[in-house]
Subunit: 302 residues, 2 copies
C-alpha cells in the first residue's frame, strides 16, 4: 500500500496507532490542535505544527511576504479553532542553496508581521537545505479550560454556523485570509458554541469530521451556504482553504448568539447552514473536499 492510496486522516491513524501519548494529553490527534497540560503546571497548552510546500500550498511566483503570512496564519487558525490564543512560534525553512537571502527575508517579514498582529513571539528558527522551498511553523498557545472548544462535543439538534463566505480561495484568499482569532475568543468567552473547528479542507470534508467526532449526523441546507461572489455551490463546499470557523450551538442559545454577534462583529457574516442530528441520517451526497496530500498532481497549484 502506498500513501497515495489513503487520505490524510487514514494515513495519520495508521502512523499514530500504538505511539506513546503520555499521561497529560487531554486531546490528541484528530482535533485541530493537541491539548496538553503545561509541564509542571495546570494550564492547558495548545500545540500545533503546520507546513506549506512550494508547488503544493503556494506557487513559485507568489509574493514571499504573503506566503510567510499564510504559513503562520494557517497554524493560528487551528489555535482559533480550539478557542485558544497563540503565544510562541518556531519556524523551520527548507530551501535550495541557490535561493536569494532576500526571498527568505521577505517571507520572514510577512510571517513576523502576522505574528506581531496577534502578539506571538517568534522564539526560534531552523534552516535546512532541501530540493524545494517549504516553511513549517509550530505554535504553542494556551486555552482556559472553560473556553476549550473541541470537534467532538457537538450534540444532535445543535445548530451549525459558519463565519464569512466560502469558495474560490485560490483567487487569492488562501494567501490573505485573516484567522478568526477574535471571533473564536469571543465565542469561547460567551459560551455561544459547543463544538468548533476551522474550515481548511472545505465544508464537504470538514463538516463530516466534526459530525463524526461528535458521533452525530448532520443536515445542511445547500441554499444557505454563504458563497464568495461568482462561486458555485460545489466550489464553496470543496475548494478548501477558507479558514472560516464552523461551530455548533445549542438551540436555546441561538438567539443570544445572533444578537451578540451583530454587536461584536457587524462586518463579518454569520450564517446558519443546518444542524447536527442523530447519527445515520446525514445528508451524505456532498462532494469530497480538498485533500492537499492526495488530490493534486505534482507541482499543481492549491
Amino acid at each position: 500500500m502506498k500513501i497515495r492510496d489513503l487520505d490524510e486522516d487514514g494515513f495519520l491513524e495508521i502512523l499514530l496507532k500504538g505511539l506513546p501519548t503520555g499521561r497529560n494529553l487531554i486531546v490528541g490527534p484528530g482535533d485541530d490542535c493537541a491539548v496538553v497540560k503545561a509541564p509542571g503546571g495546570r494550564e492547558l497548552l495548545l500545540l500545533k505544527t503546520d507546513c506549506v510546500v512550494e508547488g503544493i500550498h503556494y506557487l513559485p511566483d507568489d509574493d514571499p511576504a504573503r506566503v510567510g503570512r499564510k504559513a503562520i496564519n494557517r497554524a493560528i487558525s487551528d489555535i482559533a479553532a480550539m478557542g485558544g490564543e497563540p503565544h510562541y512560534a518556531l519556524v523551520t525553512i527548507f530551501s535550495p542553496p541557490e535561493v536569494p537571502v532576500a526571498y527568505w527575508k521577505a517571507l520572514y517579514e510577512g510571517l513576523g508581521a502576522a505574528a506581531e498582529r496577534h502578539s506571538i513571539g517568534v522564539v526560534g528558527g531552523e534552516t535546512t537545505r532541501a530540493p524545494m522551498k517549504a516553511v513549517s511553523v509550530s505554535l504553542v498557545g494556551k486555552v482556559e479550560s472553560q473556553r476549550l472548544l473541541l470537534r467532538s462535543t457537538g450534540k444532535p439538534t445543535d445548530r451549525l454556523f459558519v463565519t464569512g463566505t466560502l469558495g474560490g480561495s485560490l483567487a487569492g484568499k488562501h494567501l490573505d485570509f485573516e484567522p478568526r482569532l477574535a471571533e473564536s475568543r469571543w465565542l469561547g468567552a460567551h459560551g455561544h458554541a459547543r463544538a468548533m473547528m476551522d474550515l481548511s479542507d472545505g465544508l464537504a470534508s470538514d463538516l463530516p469530521r466534526l459530525a463524526a467526532a461528535s458521533q452525530c449526523g448532520f443536515v445542511i441546507d445547500s441554499t444557505a451556504i454563504p458563497r464568495n461572489p461568482r462561486r458555485t455551490l460545489h466550489q464553496a463546499l470543496t475548494d478548501g482553504e477558507d479558514y472560516e470557523l464552523l461551530f455548533a450551538t445549542p438551540p436555546r442559545l441561538v438567539d443570544r448568539l445572533r444578537r451578540g454577534w451583530e454587536n461584536a462583529f457587524p462586518k463579518l457574516r454569520l450564517t446558519e447552514i443546518g444542524h447536527l442530528c442523530e447519527p445515520g441520517s446525514s445528508f451524505s451526497s456532498m462532494p469530497r473536499g480538498f485533500d492537499h496530500f492526495f488530490s493534486l498532481p505534482a507541482n499543481s497549484s492549491p
Copy 2:
C-alpha cells in the same frame, strides 16, 4: 546574496532580526532551545524544532526505524543541552506519494520507541506531499530555573568537559546515538556545570559558539580530545553529529564533579579538554566543523 554564501548562524541572524519575540521570552535564538515562560504560568518551557532530510541527514537506504529515532533524538539532545526534560512531540512528515505506508510506519515505530524511552507523548502529527522525504520534530519540554544551563553563562577559567568520544559518527553513530538526558539532568541537579550545549556540528564549530556566547576565549589540549576508535583528531573535531555534551565547570567544583560522575555514570567517559579564558586569547586554528546547510554537495551523505 544567496543563502549558500552564509553559514546557518549568519543566515538565521538576518532572518530573525526585527521579528517580534514577545515579552515572555527568556532565551531566544542562539542557544540550543528557546526558553519561554509557560503561557498563563510561571514554569519555564523549552521549545525546539528540528528536522532531518533524506540525502542530507540520512541516506535513502538507511533503516527507517533508525531514521525516526534519529529525528526525535536530535531534538531531545537539544532539550538535554539546556538541562531540561522533554514532554511533548509534534511530528511532520514530508513524502512523495509513491512511498509505501510501511516505510513511514517503521519510521514512526522507531521514533515512538525513543519517545517512550524518555516518557515523551507524541501528541500530534501532520503529513504533506513533497518531492523528497523529510521528518520535522517539535518538542515542548520544561526546565526548573535553577537547572537551566545556557551557552552564555561560562566564565574565564571554567574548565571544559565533554562526555563520551568524538568523531566518525557517519559510521553509524549519527543514527544510533543516545541523547545525554540523564547526564544533563544530573549535572543540573547538582550544579556541576555553569554553561552547556550539545555537540551537533562538531567541537570545532560548537566550542567557539559556547565561548562567544559566554564572551570568553578558550584553550584546548588537542591531545586530550577523546576520540572514537580509528578516528583522527581532525575527524573528532569536525565530523559533527556526536550529540555529546560540552560543558563548563568552575575550577572549585571540578573535584566534586569528577567523583560524582564516576559514581553516577561509571560507563560513560568524561574528559577535561581545556578551559575558558579571557576573550582574544583563543586557540583559533581549529578546522571548521560540519555545517549541514552549506558544507555538503547535494545528495551527499551526512
